[in-house]
């Protein structure tokens, strides 16, 4: 076959429906394109298709194959009419020299059968199953550009985050210890920030006091080697250690001690600052001798010197208390990864005996289960405060762990508003106390862990006495007292802080009270902010549940009519005063009397004492059985 290579022979089959329209637009384009490439298009058009079938009884003539075979290309429009059976339509299969391309009209819809078709350049009628062979087509171009762009966006975001959380978490190795705790400090300045978290982390570890509490609750020397009390019980003389240094390098002297004590009244803002009001003067006699004169004798003052208000600050180290605490303690804050952990590093220039662990990381968990898992998987070595006693079984029978159970200073009380509302009436308060079955309550809401004490005094205080029999559970008596009071119809608002023990015990208290004929409305206030303002400051409540964790807090909770319990008893205040000013024996007697008076007046109901529940790896030693002080004392910890 000879023909002019310049000439391109095209067969055009416009077909039916939209076909002619499309082809009419396509042909000029094709023509231009071919001419631009130096070809001379020769176009022949045929009217094959459904229209022709209807007109002439066949979609294409018998010699269709010959007509098409000699052409270079066939341009198809659309073929097919609904009123013509599909298999009657023409089908053209045409193959180029590479054995590719297929042309068939009407286009098949549905799953095609993969099949190599045979013979070159062939026109055939469709098989009656309507499934002619099809040949593979190439597709290579930019398949998924949209997805690519998205991926690139993510990549950028991720790359930008390479130093995410730039400060480190826990240390590893034999000299490092990781302890899991619950409440993270908001900052490091306990002179201006309320709450127990800061002193838990820093006291005795970063800051030291003149005197500290030991495990049995006795006052022991720390920065003071010894002290004497004058005959009138008003002047304390402390002899201080010689070689103590602050972490900023400054030596610790009696001037720093006097500065620290005086600074409480001048600069501190927290409620506990009042505990130093009794100080008249604090004077440095020599670098190692400090004389503190009190306005009146006070047993409590020396005790308070073991708490945060007795912490010793450097005269040159109080500018950035919130972020850079400076103390004389064996540890210094090395890193604070906010929202996660605080790492304390052992000081090499510590004046006293070096603690065992070179690095201690306090990791904070809001979720008790997460803390349990962290111990189970080795992220932490110690659960410092177990917040889910019902999950203790996961550790109790496992030889890898030990469980420590002791007492704390955290009296969980059902606080009653003595100043207004139905609970102003003593009989209603007494009825509340009779109505509560404390054993059942503690079993239900704190897995039976804890101690029933019936008063504001934990067993580690010298004047502890078991007062649980003062108001034994007696539902009938409660009902009777409530009726006698004439307040039976009134609703009591039980306003709970959002804390695990409070929410757990709140529902039990409500149901026990309701069984005794009370009407109780329960609501929850976000802790700390909302609860502190509504209940603690404004006393807008009838009942609440809170654990008072500060040591020796009878005075703070009940000693003033402006405290949120609104308990106003001159007799009680007189007893506290007598205890503070008397001898040690007088103190114990008076404190016992005060605790009994509180109980008798039903100033509150003492639900139970929070247990000190710790779980630790077997080899950790020196963990405190009882929480006695405000500090989580790390200095005695070790590894066997």
């Amino acid at each position: 076959m000879t023909r002019d290579p310049e000439v391109v022979r095209l067969v055009v089959i416009p077909g039916d429906g939209i076909g002619p329209e499309v082809v009419a637009a396509t042909v000029p384009t094709l023509r231009t394109a071919l001419e631009a490439e130096g070809h001379r298009p020769d176009v022949t058009s045929y009217d094959w298709g459904g229209e022709r079938y209807l007109r002439q009884g066949a979609a294409m003539p018998a010699d269709a194959a010959d007509l098409v075979r000699k052409t270079d290309a066939v341009l198809f429009g659309a073929v097919g009419r609904p009123d013509v059976p599909e298999h009657e339509h023409l089908v053209i299969v045409r193959e180029n020299t590479e054995g590719e391309y297929v042309a068939r009209r009407p286009a098949p819809y549905g799953r095609p059968r993969r099949q190599r078709h045979h013979g070159g350049g062939d026109i055939r009628r469709p098989a009656h199953d309507g499934k002619p062979g099809m040949v593979r087509m190439r597709y290579t171009r930019r398949l998924v550009r949209g997805t690519g762009t998205l991926a690139a966006t993510f990549a950028c975001l991720l790359l930008a985050a390479c130093s995410a959380g730039s400060t480190a978490s826990g240390g590893t190795g034999k000299n490092a210890l990781n302890i899991g705790l619950t409440a993270e400090p908001a900052n490091f300045d306990f002179t201006k920030t309320e709450g127990a978290a800061i002193s838990q982390a820093l006291l005795y570890n970063v800051y030291e006091n003149l005197v500290k509490l030991d495990q049995s609750g006795k006052i022991r020397p720390q920065l003071a080697t010894s002290w004497t009390l004058s005959k009138d019980r008003k002047t304390y003389t402390f002899h201080l250690v010689k070689n103590a240094r602050f972490s900023n390098g400054a030596p610790f002297t009696a001037k720093d001690a006097a500065f620290s004590i005086e600074r409480v009244s001048s600069d501190w803002t927290i409620a506990q600052k009042a505990q130093m009001d009794v100080v008249d003067t604090a004077r440095a006699v020599s670098p190692t001798e400090l004389k503190v004169t009190l306005k009146r004798p006070s047993n409590d003052w020396l005790y308070r010197m073991t708490t945060r208000v007795g912490a010793m600050f450097s005269r040159t180290g109080v500018d950035k208390l919130a972020t850079e605490p400076v103390g004389t303690g064996p540890y210094a804050v090395r890193k604070w990864n906010r929202g996660d952990s605080i790492t304390l590093a052992r000081r090499h220039d510590y004046w006293g005996r070096e603690p065992h662990f070179a690095s201690v990381t306090l990791k904070y968990f809001k979720d008790p289960t997460a803390m349990n898992n962290a111990l189970l998987t080795g992220t932490i070595n110690v659960i410092g405060t177990m917040q889910s006693p019902d999950s203790l079984y996961r550790f109790a029978n496992n030889p890898k762990y030990k469980v420590i159970e002791g007492t704390t200073n955290g009296e969980v009380i059902l606080s009653l508003n003595n100043g207004s509302g139905p609970l102003k009436h003593p009989k209603v308060r007494q009825a509340v106390r009779y109505a509560i079955d404390h054993k059942a309550l503690m079993d239900t809401c704190w897995a039976g862990r804890g101690k029933l004490i019936g008063s504001m005094v934990p067993p580690t205080d010298p004047w502890y006495q078991n007062l649980t029999n003062e108001y034994p559970y007696n539902r009938d008596k409660a009902r009777k007292l409530l009726e006698e009071s004439g307040q039976a119809g009134r609703t009591l608002r039980l306003r709970l802080p959002t804390l695990p023990y409070a929410t757990a015990c709140g529902t039990v208290v409500k149901s026990q009270l309701e069984q005794a004929g009370f009407k109780v409305k329960l609501d929850q206030l976000e802790f700390p902010a909302a609860w502190l303002t509504t209940v603690f400051k404004n006393a807008d409540y009838d009942m609440s549940i809170i654990s008072h964790v500060e040591p020796r807090d009878m005075q703070a909770v009940f000693g003033s009519k402006t405290s949120y319990t609104r308990y106003d008893s001159p007799e009680f205040r007189a007893l506290l005063k007598k205890a503070d000013q008397g001898t040690q024996q007088e103190q114990i007697t008076a404190m016992r009397a005060a605790a009994r008076l509180l109980s008798k007046d039903a100033a509150a109901d003492w639900l139970f004492l929070l247990p000190n529940l710790m779980v630790a790896n077997k080899d950790i030693t020196g963990l405190p059985v009882n929480t006695v002080s405000e500090s989580l004392d790390l200095t005695g910890l070790g590894r066997s």
């Binding site: 098949p108 949209g146 991720l158 998987t377 303002t533 400051k537």
Partner: protein, 316 residues
């Protein structure tokens, strides 16, 4: 295209301005004095007044607003009321953590959802498609934290393959970082992926019914080829929309996962600062999140333009 882009940028800037005013106004009308809140219940009035002056709370509102915006724009938002530490590093630290978590989660979600959704759509009347569909419904119904707890129980506590929780910056220990990232990212990714799968499925189903896909098939492409070559990009537009919405939600919404896995992310920072009443920090975090959401929407608009040429032509 450029007109489109300029429009989008203008909208972004306007929305940022409006949201900043809203955030500021909202914080300003909140009851309670931030200084008193910061100092606690027992602070004296002089102490509060001092702190108000220190925070600049005694100045006129407009001045406060402007100085706040100035601080944000210059990346120096000042110090927190409660922790007394600079806010900028706190937020950027937390944001980076969250970006890792959410980014990885979303990548996993895409890896799960796009093929799954396509298979489900293509086989939507077949048993295999129905089984996948049921699985994805379960995925949608399971909250991410539950998935997280299950993963922890199995892979951390049970098998001990991976740590149960914690966070380590990648520069510090890349291996530990990856180990700790796996479970939280999976819990986010699988659940978000299940949600996304539903959208991919319906988008692909819509596309399958389109004429152009039949045409592609008519040209001789196999169904998978036709779908990949012509269908995917068209199905992408609604999917990208959903993806962006999920991404924006997750910036804060990952907080539950952050809590389960003890990860110090942006969501926990917001929660903590709300409960501490650290209002300036709350205000800044909320603004950052608003900015992030607006930025994501802006990026999505750009991605639309890349995916769908029709939108590009439409503008010029």
């Amino acid at each position: 295209m450029i007109v489109r882009l300029a429009q989008r940028i203008a909208i972004l800037l306007a929305s940022l301005a409006v949201s900043s005013v809203l955030v500021f106004a909202f914080m300003a009308v909140l009851p309670g004095d931030p200084a008193r809140v910061a100092l606690g219940t027992s602070a004296s009035d002089t102490a509060v007044a001092q702190l108000r002056e220190q925070f600049g709370l005694d100045r006129p509102l407009v001045e406060q607003y402007l100085s706040w915006i100035h601080g944000l724009v210059t990346f120096d938002p000042g110090n927190s009321y409660i922790s007394h530490t600079p806010i900028g590093p706190q937020i950027s630290d937390r944001l980076q953590v969250t970006l890792w978590l959410v980014g990885t989660g979303m990548v996993i979600a895409c890896i799960v959802a796009i093929p799954m959704g396509m298979v489900m759509a293509v086989r939507h009347r077949k048993p295999s498609g129905l089984i996948l569909s049921a699985l994805s419904q379960i995925g949608v119904a399971v909250p991410a934290f539950l998935a997280g707890i299950l993963l922890i129980t199995v892979f951390a506590v049970g098998l001990g393959w991976l740590p149960a929780n914690g966070w380590t910056p990648p520069v510090e220990d890349p291996v530990l970082f990856l180990k700790q990232l796996v479970l939280p990212a999976l819990s986010l990714g699988v659940v978000q992926g299940a949600v996304l799968t539903r959208y991919v499925r319906s988008a692909v189903l819509d596309v399958l019914r389109e004429d152009y896909l039949r045409t592609a098939r008519a040209k001789g492409l196999r169904p998978t080829q036709a779908l990949l070559r012509h269908g995917l990009r068209n199905a992408a537009v609604p999917v990208v929309t959903v993806l962006a919405l999920q991404l924006a939600t997750l910036l804060v919404g990952a907080v539950v996962i952050e809590r389960v896995f003890v990860i110090p992310g942006l969501g926990s920072l917001l929660l903590d600062s709300v409960s501490n009443r650290d209002l300036i920090l709350v205000q800044d975090v909320v603004m950052i999140i608003a900015t992030a959401v607006l930025l994501v929407n802006f990026l999505v608009d750009i991605v639309y333009l890349l995916i769908d040429p029709r939108l590009r032509v439409g503008a010029s």
